[in-house]
């Protein structure tokens, strides 16, 4: 007589660490958005830009390391085989992933703070603390910036969607440009939040964008401001707040925002080490991930939205620095459909 043995179900881990030095402050992580791509770029304050290949079941390997020499503040993929990065030494550099060769595209007058890529016209868009936004051609070298425009103050946040550029400045203004005619902005408006802007992100549909600030608030703004209906649809909500032992509410900055490429939901990361995924259409929070060791400095979804790169890095925001300093890490978490689809 045969005996059937009950099957044992073991939960598979959905979270994997990326091999990154724990003492290096991380400035940005970004997945490549080419179809079928599995590359992840990470820039750090040690002046290196690392490119990883992320597999399905936690198979993460370091593919290439570019050494810049000075701290990097931003990086972005420029096409299927190139990565661009910039930092406090004002230079904008472009490196080939396959050959490992690097070249300098140009420079800003001050540090390069933000950088994004427009795949439709192969343009790299960079914003710096010199209050300028510059366009660079990723296919031809040595020609300098294609075009440049000045905004009202230092660039603190930027996003690019197709031909539209969204810039958040130090004086809490939001600029919107068309990269094909950069001279005049499409729109200039004040930030709906009262404190410093930390991140701006377009909805994948392009009809709205999200603004986050250091005051633990996120605002949803619509691109088209005409009509009363659009003004009523915009809103802001509080997040990344926690109660202290004496009942005081601690407000943490929302460092980063990342949109799911398919469903239009977005994830926020704050200085409290929490990652939330929000449904902006029903104004609900879908899930809240576990508390990470230190501040969330950058988030990025991959091209199909199944993986979320979470960079945790201490930003020296506390009044008294903890001793020892917390370890910095990059985590790849699998995001399932119920965790990211609007209800």
């Amino acid at each position: 007589m045969s005996t059937y043995q009950a099957a044992t179900i073991v939960a598979a881990p959905n979270e994997f660490r990326v091999p990154f030095p724990p003492f290096v402050q991380i400035s940005k992580v970004q997945f490549q958005r080419e179809a079928g791509s599995r590359l992840l770029a990470a820039s750090g304050w040690d002046g290196t830009c690392r490119v990883y290949e992320v597999g399905k079941l936690g198979d993460i390997s370091e593919k290439l390391v570019f050494t810049h020499g000075k701290p990097l503040l931003t990086c972005t993929f420029a096409g299927y085989n190139k990565v661009a990065f910039g930092g406090v030494d004002h230079n904008v550099k472009l490196a080939d992933i396959e050959t490992g060769n690097g070249t300098q595209l140009g420079s800003h007058a001050l540090a390069v703070r933000c950088m994004e890529f427009n795949p439709m016209s192969s343009l790299i868009v960079s914003g710096g603390w010199d209050s300028s936004v510059k366009l660079w051609d990723a296919r031809s070298y040595g020609n300098g910036a294609i075009e440049s425009v000045n905004v009202s103050s230092s660039v603190y946040a930027m996003d690019v969607l197709k031909h539209t550029i969204l810039v958040g400045t130090k004086d809490r203004k939001i600029f919107m440009y068309d990269s094909r005619k950069l001279r005049e902005p499409l729109q200039v408006r004040d930030s709906p939040l009262k404190y410093q802007t930390r991140a701006v992100q377009f909805f994948p549909t392009g009809e709205a964008f999200v603004v986050s600030s250091i005051e633990g608030r996120v605002a949803v703004e619509y691109v088209d401001q005409s009509g009363e209906e659009m003004m009523k649809r915009k809103y802001a909500f509080k997040c990344h707040r926690e109660k202290d032992t004496d009942g005081t509410e601690l407000i943490h900055p929302v460092h980063t925002v990342a949109f799911h490429p398919k469903y239009g939901t977005f994830a926020t990361g704050g200085a409290d080490g929490i990652v939330n995924i929000w449904d902006p259409f029903n104004r609900k929070r879908i899930i809240q991930l576990h508390k990470f060791e230190t501040s969330i400095s950058s988030l990025s979804f991959n091209e199909d939205g199944s993986q979320l790169a979470i960079a945790t890095s201490y930003q020296y925001e506390k009044e008294i620095d903890p001793s020892p300093l917390p370890n910095n890490s990059i985590t790849i978490r699998h995001i399932t459909d119920p965790e990211s689809r609007p209800k």
Binding site: F23, W45, K194, E215, L250, A271, K318
Partner: protein
């Protein structure tokens, strides 16, 4: 034949409207809380009612009542109530001061309060005085109880508690109902119903307050003066006079003779302290204050209800509020009494970051740490590149 030209004359025109149609026009009818008599709605163009007319009418009524026979004493209060109805119909708007003065003249008559202290019709007199006392309803009802007028009438306490609750002093409203039970007011069902209704409204207020917390802004917003929130349960909201209420410009001071008033003992005689202070004859200054409430500055006024803690009362809500200092704020136009003190405040919110980040971003601050940035120090120690200069 040419038409005769129109010539303006002062002759009365032949209108289609009949004289009885005056009440068809709703703008001519001024509603009161207890309604109006139909006779008052008829137009009497000959009658012109002024303040002096009202004073003269009351004097005539009081003189007439003095000459009444003993068998007609029961009609005295009814005639006074008829005068009140007449006053409210003729001088409904803008004569609160005159009305209050005339009511004080009525109750200050010798033996009036003692004669009708059990008559429930006195409740109307006290209600009218409280409504026209420029926000001193609580003191008026206390004065009534101290004179032993309607001590055991439960309707008085219900009305008293309601007026105190409208002023925002919810704890005091509960104490009024506790006093009603202490004084064995009847019927007790009125007290029970009033207490249940009070608690129900209190719960509804708390629910609304809790729901509105989610939408609260972090920073303060400017509010109209009349919408200022109260601080605790021991203070009334600001009372702002409407322009129509300040139209009375009589300068005459109110003086009454109180020499014939007898002294009475406190309400309870069982050697038991009162749950709160009850006005008595020994507080002559308070009586004068009540008489001349309309002589105070009429723009904005606010006061604190006297706080008394008596643990001997079972079930009474004793609140240990902090000592509150009330002082006038000097202003060129009007005098505002404000409250200074640390009351129960909400939990504050603070940002868990350094203050320097109000101006600098996190990257700018970290860049200012260079070349002593921890990442750079460790990276330099690892690389040991002697050819590169930092």
């Amino acid at each position: 034949m040419a038409e005769e030209p129109y010539v303006f004359t002062l002759k009365k025109r032949n209108n289609d409207d009949a004289e009885d149609d005056w009440d068809r026009y709703s703008e001519n009818v001024r509603p009161t809380r207890r309604g109006r008599k139909i006779d008052a709605l008829k137009r009497n163009v000959e009658e012109v009612v002024t303040e002096e007319t009202a004073r003269l009418k009351l004097d005539q009524l009081l003189e007439e009542l003095q000459n009444l026979e003993c068998s007609e004493e029961s009609e005295e209060l009814q005639k006074i109530l008829d005068f009140c109805s007449w006053f409210e119909e003729k001088l409904a708007i803008g004569f609160h001061k005159v009305y209050y003065e005339l009511l004080w003249k009525i109750i200050s008559r010798h033996g009036f309060l003692e004669k009708y202290k059990e008559d429930e019709r006195m409740l109307k007199i006290w209600e009218k005085m409280a409504d026209n006392s420029a926000g001193h309803a609580h003191d008026i009802y206390q004065f009534a109880i101290s004179r032993k007028s309607l001590v055991k009438c439960a309707a008085l306490y219900a009305r008293w508690s309601q007026s105190v609750e409208l002023a925002g002093a919810y704890v005091e409203a509960r104490r009024v109902l506790i006093l009603a039970r202490t004084n064995c007011a009847v019927p007790i069902q009125i007290v029970n119903d009033a207490e249940d209704a009070l608690e129900m409204r209190e719960m509804r207020r708390h629910l609304q307050e809790r729901d509105s917390d989610d939408d609260e802004e972090e920073e303060e917003t400017r509010k109209a003066f009349t919408n200022l929130p109260v601080i605790g349960d021991n203070h009334t909201v600001p009372i702002v006079r409407l322009p129509s209420m300040c139209s009375d410009t009589t300068k005459k001071a109110m003086k009454f003779d109180t020499g014939n008033v007898e002294r009475v003992n406190p309400v309870c005689k069982d050697n038991q302290m009162q749950p709160f202070e009850v006005l008595s004859y020994t507080d002559a200054d308070d009586v004068e204050y009540l008489r001349n409430v309309h002589e105070l500055h009429a723009h904005i006024e606010r006061y604190a209800i006297k706080e008394t803690t008596n643990p001997s009362i079972t079930g009474s809500s004793t609140s240990e509020a902090a000592a509150v200092t009330i002082y006038p704020v000097s202003s060129s136009e009007f005098e505002v009494w404000t409250v200074e003190g640390s009351g129960p405040t909400k939990a504050k919110a603070r940002m868990a970051i350094k203050r320097v980040f109000k101006d600098l971003s996190f990257e700018e601050y970290a860049a200012s740490l260079l070349p002593n940035h921890p990442s750079m120090v460790r990276a330099t120690a690892k690389k040991l590149d002697f050819d590169e200069t930092l």
